[in-house]
Amino acid sequence: MTTLTSASTTKEGALRRFVRHLLYVMTDNPVTAVAFALFVLIVIAALFGPWLVPYNPLATDSSSTLQAPSWQHWFGTDHLGRDVFSRVVVATRLDLMIAVTAVAIAFVVGSTLGAIAGFYGGWTDRITGRLMDTIMAFPLFVLAMGIVAAAGNTIENIIYATAIINLPFYARMARTEVAVRRQAGYVQAARLSGNRDWRILAFQIFPNSLPPMMVQISLNMGWAILNAAGLSFIGLGVSPPTPEWGIMVAEGANYIVSGQWWLAVFPGLALMLAVFTFNLLGDGLRDLVDPLRRT
């Protein structure tokens, strides 16, 4: 069966191989290609949203409230006559910003703590482990509510709360990924070559642990967006009239029972699409970095 390996010994540049593999992953699973396309779309909306939309997302118009979707207002208008489409597009930046910042903080702090715990073991490991266990002992969304309630109802605190509840995921994963490689042959060999501990951790173990963590980042991003939106749905963090998906769904909720579905549905769909994209992207990344699928 190992005759398969001989196929890979043709000479190729690393970049070309990567591109070839990327193309393979895309064509093998068109869903991944769709996810990459959606991702680009979301990034564009986040960066240039305010300049792309037809209406000012904050401008109210009492003459055209609660209008159903039409050519003029693609997603209809809300109870104050604001254009739902413009609000949904402009909200992308804030929602993404909260999630990206929170995940970035969680990743940097969590993976550093986890990597150190996994590498040194012993007391460092036990203390960080206990710390993470304590965070995980709470239902995470509930803990985020508690933190925001205690620390104050601001966007920054939403970010910190989301970062804290994501911390254990990264810490645990980094710990596992580092711990399984701690005794690997190439790590031992690096010691024999005169590498100090920090060099081994930074140049041998960490780069090899990164691919599986990238997958987790992508998957977690979706979850972070959901959490942040959930918090603003119950009235934490973002305050009206700022366009944000969670709060828009919350405002629109009152009109669902009377049939004005577009107020809640479009921001809800946008939210879903964003989360969906990151989840699919995570699956795609997994295929991309999984060495078993790479020939």
């Binding site: 206990r130 266990d133 304590t134 995980m136 002992a137 709470f138 239902p139 995470l140 969304f141 509930v142 803990l143 509510m145 508690g146 933190i147 309630a149 205690a150 620390a151 104050g152 979706g222 979850w223 959901l226 939106a229 959930g230 749905f233 119950i234 009235g235 934490l236 969670g246 769904v249 919350a250 629109g252 909720a253 669902i256 029972v257 009377s258 049939g259 579905w261 809640a264 549905v265 809800g268 769909l269 939210l271 879903m272 989360v275 969906f276 989840n279 699919l280 699956d283």
Partner: protein, 342 residues
Amino acid sequence: MATMSRTRLIAWRVVQAVPVLIGIVIVSFLLTRALPGDPAAYFAGPAANAESIQQIRVSMGLDRPLPLQFISYVQDLFRGDLGTAISTGQPVIHELTTRLPASLELTGFALLFSMIIALPLGILAATRPNTWVDHLCRAVVTAGVSLPTFFTGLALIYVFYYLLGWAPSPMGRLDFLYLSPPKVTGFYVIDALIDRDLETAWGALSQLLLPAITLGLFTLAPIARMTRAAMLQTLESEFIRTARAAGLPRRKVLFTYALRNAILPVITTLGMVFSFALGANVLVEQVFSWPGIGSYAVEALVVSDYASVQGFVLTMALLFVALNLLIDVIYTLVDPRLNTQE
């Protein structure tokens, strides 16, 4: 490698929950004291004057050093004193205990619903890769983790209440036409059945259905995903090949050999699922005006009723610890390999 007896192993699990409990109490204490500015002013509420703030400060012991405050906080906890809810003037513990059954009924029903669907779906998908079941499973899983619960809830309300009119108005546990059944378990459906009042039971069930499905759809995805992955992995392992080489029939290989092994990681995932479920529960209660502790906490948040919010966080954490303990005990009973590693 001395293997402990089952009972001792379970006792050991219970003991291991103690440090977690201590951690929870410390965190929830810190949360009450982390408020920027004067915590007493927050706990007294927006309508308080200087005198009542001072009263709160003394009663909460905020004028004493932090370690002493912690001790009295713990003492209060043991007495079941979580402070007074500003909005109603009732003790927080009373508010929480009267509302807890509603939340438990909703969450329990939702988890039951999602497990009944997710487990068979995951198993079928793993045993028939690349068939329609597999594709369905993948679609459900991906959609399930992407759907915000509050959005699913609203969509279901729109379709089943507004458009089709099948579901009752999404307001609370029981329509005002019915009287609440006499309290035995606190779960309306079960209490009404105990009372042999089928009409009320049906009324309670129809109210419960939409919110439970909303929550269930959210927890369904991780369970199905894990079941499928675990089952796929187990089916590829070498002992399955041995079982096949020994001529065991497919049914026996699938259920006695593969499934029992595959279920172990699924049980572990349940901890995470419970965490999600308890969090999402807050949102679902909010959407359906379900009178549980989640919607209570949201109301309290709006009026800055901090004692209630912290009491809620603590209750949820304790509930979660209990559920995790249950998972650990089940795992201990299922997996013979556990021994005294710690």
